[in-house]
Amino acid sequence: MFILIVGAGRVGSAVAKKALEQGNEVSVLDEDPLSHEQLDKDLVDSWEDAGGRFTVGTALEVDALLEAGIEEADVFIASTNGDNTNLVVAQIAQRRFNVARVVVRVLDPARAAWYAEQGLDTICPTQHAIEMFERAALSPAEA
């Protein structure tokens, strides 16, 4: 599979490395050249030597998306640190480039829920944290 990941922060770069390890073709797009270090970290060789691709550019730049290989992507992951950027670029991947599988990180639970209803595969870390806190702190203590 060809996996394109936009946003190489902690989450994006970790998923990228996992995907590469599993034998996928992986391309990462990030506006910050320094984010490349996140990808190199913990690798014996560099990200490229390990077989990964890296493109510097912003998510809404069509040229950058094309360079990163969006037209061949089977999976698109939007994991920048901005909800609004993620939601827009995910819809571009889905509607314009017809990527089969689009997964988008949305920190705001309300919008994660609404966009999920609209057919986007949203992941909301905040919602997960809320549920984990509830389980850890609010559930009756086991006797």
Binding site: L60, E61, D83, N84, V88, Q91, A110, R111, W114
Partner: protein, 224 residues
Amino acid sequence: MYVIVAGAGKVGWNLARELLAKDHEVTLIESNRRRYLVVEQELEHAVQYGDATELWVLERAGIQRADLVIAVTGDDEDNMLICQVAREKYLCQRIVARVNNPRNLQHFKLLGIRPAVSATDLILRLIEHEVPQYGLVQLLALEGERLEIIELEVVEGAPAAGRRVDEVELPEGALIISVLRGGAGFVPKSDTVIEAGDEVLLILDPGLESAITPQFTRAGAGAA
């Protein structure tokens, strides 16, 4: 009319002020606390503090009953999403979005956000279309409808000068809709005589400019 304006920058603030002066009900939303406090001194309860991309902020502003939502923040993603939820989630009939970077216009179109207004693009188009020797100004381009309105100055000695409107040789798909003379405008009839110094407004199919302008300029002028 109840209008929600997202973003209290120069555009949003002035827009809110004008709409209020026209007796519309307005809520302006600003996410920068300092900016909000500045604007609040003038607009008082008509401005709310919050991030207009968040659903609860829009709901607090009463988006359910808004007749018009205008997104004019400095961030194109925000403007797209504000308009998208306004229309698709809250079923607001009318939206207007500001495009900051004209390259993002394609994304607004992809998400069905119309109209999307780009000041940069408008000015660029004026520059492109304004041919100084012809004195042509594009006033309006209705892209979806494929119509344009242009303004032209009638030069002394031009073929159209001294002719009746129905004698001006215009291509198919162009019509003189207004004449400005001595500071006043009027709708010409077929026997109205066009004079040198007039400014005429024409409605036309896009792309006919080059066939129209020679009628209002002197032969040979601007042929270079």
